[in-house]
Amino acid sequence: MIARAGQWVTEVLQAGGRRLVIAVPFVWLLLFFLAPFAIVAKISLAEFRVGVPPYTPLFEIVEGAWLHIRATLGNYAYLIDDPLYVAAYLSSVKIAAVSTVFALLIGYPMAYGIARSAQPWRNVLLLAVMLPFWTSFLIRVYAWIGILRSNGLLNNFLLWLGVIDEPLVLLNTDLAVYIGIVYSYLPFMILPLYATLEKMDLSLLEAAQDLGCRPWKAFVTVTLPLSLPGIIAGSMLVFIPAVGEFVIPDLLGGPSTLMIGKVLWSEFFNNRDWPVASAVAIAMLVLLVAPIVFFQRYRMRQDEKAREAAL
């Protein structure tokens, strides 16, 4: 009887412990990650006013008992009416997409080369890919200013070679933004590609070659389709944050470089228009929700596979 009661107490404690272990990170994320989005959505329906906080309240008790709800879609209408915002959206998607393609073109052969190199080298090369990711992002973007300026290192080098007669305009252009994004996000492309290429069963390639398949054709028909999960994961890891990038277009881009992250920043910090900044954020989320869900499902599938493999 006593032993039974003891067991019961232990079980209750265990169930409670289990719940507590789930609850601590869960509540933190609900409060500090999910709840803020509801507040952003709420403020995007408010109006700008001069004061603290600089937006009108959504619910107000007017004349005693009446709960007055004041919501407006004016901020969203403003986003659609003003050509600046639509242009900034399209331009962000274009810049992020082009950068993703270039990151893939550079990252794929690198990941392939690392995955096929001999073991001690593989770890060293992988560490070498990770290392820039661990060093300051801001500093790495800053490094390109010194290289791309009109009297910068690249122009000086090209002038010295005699390839060009006068300095090229490289900094504060869209080209500089492409370079900056590819440079900063390349490790995010290489790591998932490496992970899929490294796990690949090489006997498949040998079989293809034994059956008379040319290496190039074997690559296109065997390796490429098998590495598709890595291509998708890497592309999402580059594309999604690149769409909302602020630092790179601000430091490397020019006045004509339109990106939505920069627009949000200036609405908030320069114009101090919180409702419009919130509407921009919500619109950006709507744009990114499809790729984020896509990425999420890919990750869950990978988790499941890994768990099955472990069992």
Binding site: V40, M110, L125, S136, I139, G146, R149, L264, R299
Partner: protein, 284 residues
């Protein structure tokens, strides 16, 4: 497959790729030792920018704030991220699991401007509602940083835990250990390398973050990236090159040290397992 690994195309691409990744950083380091103020003209070797850096009260103050925030962030994010990783791998299905794993994955790709704006608006709303946090500063930056870095820790812990089957914990519990004890005595030591890399990653991400900190900061809590950013916006300065060099070297030493440490730990454990297996065989 040897022909593939020696393919000239792949070697060229690797060389080009690593040059692309490393040349800008190396040039930055080189020009931090430049005598000339003109950052792109070489005027002879000098360490005078380092001397100036260590006399810059604004940079030193910001560095102190950033290091404090990063250390607290990394510790909290490692604790919360480890719990989250454990929940994802070992807890099976429970209500809200999809939402939970969504909230772990989303911060990894969420544009920083959105994360920053949303958490600032939360702080403002909370202050109106319950009077906390009163104003913004180190505390609010730390909370914001813990929120986005714990996702990285959770992913690292999760991938380490999926590599292990649960048999060792089960063995411990069969021998009478409570789940909490089994976790502390068995699981934790095995995933320790993941905790170390998680802590280091959270520390680095926090130390490096400009956008989220800019939203969450108050007037008295300017972090190092915020100082660097406003100085860089005005143009290239050799003092920033010197600071960048110190940051890059610091990160490099720590990462290579950690990689070496973890490699050695894994090797030692593999050897211990092999030795135990050999002894077992001898006995049989």
């Amino acid at each position: 497959m040897k022909s593939v690994s020696r393919s000239p195309f792949l070697i060229t691409m690797l060389a080009f790729g690593f040059a692309f990744l490393y040349l800008p950083i190396l040039l930055l380091i080189l020009y931090s030792f430049n005598e000339s103020r003109l950052v792109t003209v070489w005027g002879g070797f000098s360490v005078k920018w380092y001397a100036e850096l260590f006399q810059d009260a604004q940079i030193l103050g910001a560095a102190k704030i950033s290091l404090t925030v990063a250390a607290i962030t990394a510790t909290l994010a490692t604790a919360l991220g480890t719990l989250a990783g454990l929940v994802l791998v070992r807890f099976g299905r429970f209500r809200g699991r999809t939402l939970f794993s969504g909230m772990i994955t989303a911060p990894l790709v969420m544009p920083e401007v959105v994360t920053g704006l949303s958490i600032l608006l939360l702080f403002v709303a909370l202050e109106q509602l319950i009077g906390w946090p009163a104003g913004r500063g180190v505390t609010t930056i730390t909370i914001a940083h813990v929120t986005f870095t714990m996702a990285y820790v959770a992913i690292i812990v999760q991938s380490r835990l999926t590599q292990l089957d649960g048999s060792m914990e089960e063995a411990a519990m069969d021998l009478g250990a409570r789940p909490a004890k089994a976790f502390l005595l068995v699981t934790l030591p095995i995933i320790a390398p993941a905790l170390v890399s998680g802590w280091l990653l959270a520390f680095t991400l926090s130390l490096d973050d400009l956008v989220i900190a800019s939203f969450a900061a108050g007037p008295d809590s300017t972090t190092l990236p915020m100082v660097v950013f406003s100085s860089v916006r005005l143009g290239v300065s050799p003092k920033i090159n010197a600071l960048a060099t110190l940051l890059v070297l610091g990160a490099t030493i720590i990462i290579i040290g950690a990689a070496w440490f973890m490699h050695r730990q894994d090797r030692d454990r593999d050897r211990a397992v092999a030795r135990a297996m050999a002894e077992q065989k001898d006995r049989e």
